[in-house]
Amino acid sequence: MTFADKTAAQMQELIHTEQTTIAEVTKQAFDRIEALDPKVDAFLAMNKEQATQQAEEMDKVPFAERGPLFGLPIGVKDNIVTEGLETTASSRILEGFNPIYNATVVEKLKAAGMITVGKLNMDEFAMGSSNENSYYKKTKNPWNLETVPGGSSGGSAAAVAAGEVPFTLGSDTGGSIRQPASFCGVVGMKPTYGRVSRFGLIAFASSLDQIGPVTRTVKDNALLLEAISGHDERDSTSADIEVPNFAEALTGDIQGLRIGVPKEYFAEGVGEAAKQAVRDALQVLEEKGATWEEISLPHSKYALATYYLLASSEASSNLSRFDGIRYGYRTQKAGSLLEFYMNTRSEGFGDEVKRRIMLGTYALSSGYYDAYYKKAQKVRTLIKQDFDKAFEEYDVIIGPTTPTPAFKIGEIIDDPLTMYANDILTIPVNLAGVPAISVPCGFENGLPLGLQIIGKYFDEETVYRVADVFEQATDFHKKTPQTWEGAAQ
């Protein structure tokens, strides 16, 4: 029996009817990772010994005391700190770093009874759209091992697509959950800014970063988001707002739903296949009782520039903490303290991280602050207002997640601007702070395409409801990549 194609509910059914145990489910996750990961390269540090022990203990807990995610395996993106389990954010500067506490989300996973099997590869400090910026390895897209899985949560999306684990956590600053979810044909949610605590998330751009779930189905995604959400006094930007039962929002009823479809998301540069897949999806939703109209988010084309100025500025400040003194990589070549800092950082950071630190430092430096940083903050207001206005009339906004499917490894790594353009349809969402999901909605040349559903502030329920109706009416989520068949059963 394989668990790789099972939902949380199906696995619980097997466990509760004693057809399997948590220990067996855990063992199979590790077997599958050991069989597939030499090809997929999604995982970094593994937690095998502790997870195996934890699973045996959990099998002793009475069924009545278990929640819907109890005993199920999960992988965690490597920018989320895990006590006693190496956490590097895929950077050399954190090689060997062993956190002394857990991120709030990791504590919440434990409280839900989930078993952390290991850490997932990513672009260094979440800066990138292809996972090629990891210091350690290049994760491959399970649908075609010559293509990228997307980024920065590429390991999180690839591990779910390959069936290595049914659940992972990612983080999304400008599309880093949704873009890889789209490329790998899985479900990825960026919650409303403030929905999930960022305590223990290694900061990239603090006003944009959010942790979110990656899964194969919408329902499992809703279950996992509920488990990790909630106010946290250790994150002053986490919202003090009640966490709904997201899975209960999946009523299957979208009668009368009003959908806005921004014409800017169908502009030049967006591939014909991606556009057609969204048009087909709109027809599916129309048949289920929704209506849609073309709308305009007029400031969309300014989002990319706004984002790179703001995110890089925040990053240049956040990453100043990496100095080699208290933790992480230390240079061996330093006469003075200044040389120590400069050499440690130059040897410890990769090129993309250096590029963004320098861009941010430049944008924040005197003489340029008003022209770049403050200007971008003002344009951010205009972008946010576009969404506020659209949501006065529409319940959700729908478009493609990415302009194209996954590209080849090495194809655009030396061209930062082309690489940045990957996130052109996901970035406005982070600038506004609203929630958005990517669900599989088609294929181009055998590679998955994603449908992006954007919701109002703290209205993940409607986003999930629409995503679930679409998923139930289509079978894209049931398609599996080539590695699936070749996997050890």
């Binding site: 006003s207 003194i325 040389e339 400069m342 861009l359 430096s365 903050q377 344009v379 601007l417 502030y457």
Partner: protein, 96 residues
């Protein structure tokens, strides 16, 4: 169109505490120039009367109760320090 020179890149790198070679500075100058030029697109917009957004949610500052709590255990704090001695972090000479 702003021109980014090698010298400017070296200055910015110094501010960011990054050591870079001349060769790297030339390479980064080209890339950063292309990126900052793309950012100039924002100048099309009149933002004279627009308030900047630093944060998307309506939030007020959060203060905790002013109460002393024990800090982290010294052994834990030193766990990830590469070089330490007698409970202290070792760094290169800071004064001649």
């Amino acid at each position: 169109m702003a021109k980014m020179t090698k010298e400017e890149v070296i200055e910015v790198a110094h501010l960011a505490r990054l050591a870079i070679t001349d060769e790297e500075a030339v390479h980064f100058a080209d890339q950063l120039e292309a990126i900052t030029n793309a950012m100039e697109l924002l100048n099309e917009l009149d933002t004279e009367n627009v308030e900047p957004t630093t944060h998307v949610l309506e939030m007020v500052n959060v203060l905790r109760e002013d109460k002393s709590v024990p800090g982290l255990d010294r052994e834990l704090v030193l766990k990830n320090v590469k070089e330490h001695e007698a409970g202290q972090v070792k760094v290169p000479t800071i004064l001649e």
